[in-house]
Symmetry: C2
Subunit: 307 residues, 2 copies
């Protein structure tokens, strides 16, 4: 079951305490698609300029990512320049050149319209809503966003949240969206907008999954190698939806496992710059890390005699 | 098996977004002792002034806390005045009057010297070391500290860490002590000082337990009622050591459960001002919350066919 992933394709300039890279492959749809491709074929929807290196397209195709929805147009590819200090939870943007992204007015190719699993990565929520309206009858739509849209497209974003199945936010975004500093009550408020599941990503502290009926607290992998956090949230989302598409099982039981798979994919993504860690990744590594997280977080029931 | 708990007894002035209290019972040894008292008798070691209300001593005694080690001396009880803004992970101190605490030169009463389970709550590490040297052959010594001692008694603190079994730190303290922003590598460095277990408390994000051989990631209780975080770390420590003393089982398996018990006690402690939530607490509530955390964090193994 292919997953439709719509978002940005970028050439990034990155600087972290561990090094510096210029013009490397990035973008929300790229990190998402490559992570999802470990589980499921992917249909990519995005736009690049004529400067976009052919080798990157070859790489995406080699990962079973359909690039028919990747429009190549005159102009330059979206470019993000950012840096991280020792607190790598916080990205600092030096420069954003939207370039061809300004023309990203996504017309879904006919062969994408019947997609059943869809990840709308972080773009203007008006564009996310437009993509949503072109879809036939998706079974699972996951959306991501960022603080800029909370501040500048609040109404459209709230409409979007009411129309998707799973909304991804990081902890700061959940607090900002609701004005509520407590993540548990913030999630309850977001659920009221109509979404089935809210996932609050907490970086090194794991992730929380909420539905109206339930709560799941997913531990993080104890990350000792953190080189470049760029794309962590997107690789989380890609792993999450790729795994669900692969298994075709949308029970809450399985959605919990998908949250862990998302954490695992993010934990690999951040170990090296750009997509480099995912390029080397093997299925066996994913299984092993999933099982490690299970071991790290397991504890037994109390015995009867504890008071 | 009684637990020896040494630390401060205080009268606190507190202000949080949910209200304001003046002159209420507090202090690290009080929050720790009351939490521990749900599992085990406690021997309290501290000092107060003649102004310390008798009703507080009666309350402590009613909880099976031995107050023979609570010295009552001329002068005023230790007084802390602080406030919290909406980010309640961060306490802001307005005023600290050490008062009688300046004379806290703890001579262990003879009947305390054979204590097997000991919690050295946050005081000057030189005092913690002095208490340690008076103990016979304790089975488990747990110590806590704060940023002030990291900055001003670094050498004594590192010596202490090498001589206790379990060191408690919050995430900021672990980073500050090691100069390492990554909690996983920070914990590895702290273990090199000679301590058997390091517990890094992450407030709303749960806690991490490290030994040289293993890692445990304890989820937090999804706290929707947070009134006053004062004493959260101490009630964590009290629950942790009280449960271990009660069960007499220091296997790693049981230490993981003790971390969850600690989180449960902290989660109740913060629901109301001072000790008010613990005053109302029933054993049944503790068991129920422990089991809730188990449910919230449980997920199954992957099936064979996930790629």
């Amino acid at each position: 079951m292919p997953v439709l992933i719509a978002g940005t394709v970028a050439l990034d300039d990155l600087k972290t305490p561990f090094g510096e890279k210029k013009g490397v492959l990035g973008g929300s749809a790229v990190h998402g698609s490559v992570a999802a491709s470990f589980f499921s074929p992917v249909s990519l929807l995005s736009i690049v300029g004529k400067d976009f290196p052919k080798k990157h397209i070859d790489f995406l195709r080699s990962r079973n990512i359909d690039t028919r929805g990747l429009k190549i147009t005159d102009g330059k590819t979206f470019h993000w320049e950012g840096f991280y200090e020792y607190d790598m939870n916080q990205a600092h943007t030096k420069r954003t050149d939207l370039n061809v992204l300004l023309e990203f007015d996504p017309e879904l190719p006919p062969e994408y319209r019947d997609s059943k699993y869809v990840f709308l990565a972080n773009v203007d929520p008006d564009i996310q809503l437009k993509m949503l309206s072109q879809l036939g009858s998706p079974e699972l739509v996951v959306a991501d966003t960022m603080n800029y849209w909370i501040e500048n497209r609040n109404k459209a974003l709230k409409e979007l949240i009411g129309r998707v199945d799973v909304m991804l936010l990081n902890d700061m975004e959940a607090r900002e969206l609701t004005g509520n500093p407590n993540l548990i009550s913030a999630a309850a408020e977001i659920l009221k907008l109509g979404v089935k599941y809210v996932i609050i990503k907490k970086g090194e502290h794991g992730a929380l999954l909420f539905s109206k009926q339930s709560h799941f607290s997913a531990p993080s992998y104890p990350q000792d190698k953190l080189t470049d956090p760029t794309g962590a949230g997107d690789s989380f989302a890609g792993g999450f939806i790729g795994y669900l598409a692969r298994s075709g099982d949308l029970s809450e039981r399985n959605i919990k496992k998908a949250v862990i798979i998302g954490s695992v994919m993010a934990s690999f993504n951040v170990e090296d710059f750009s997509l480099d860690a995912l390029r080397r990744l093997k299925h066996e590594d994913i299984k092993k890390r999933f099982e490690m997280i299970r071991t790290f977080s397991r504890f037994e029931a109390l015995s009867q005699d504890c008071f």
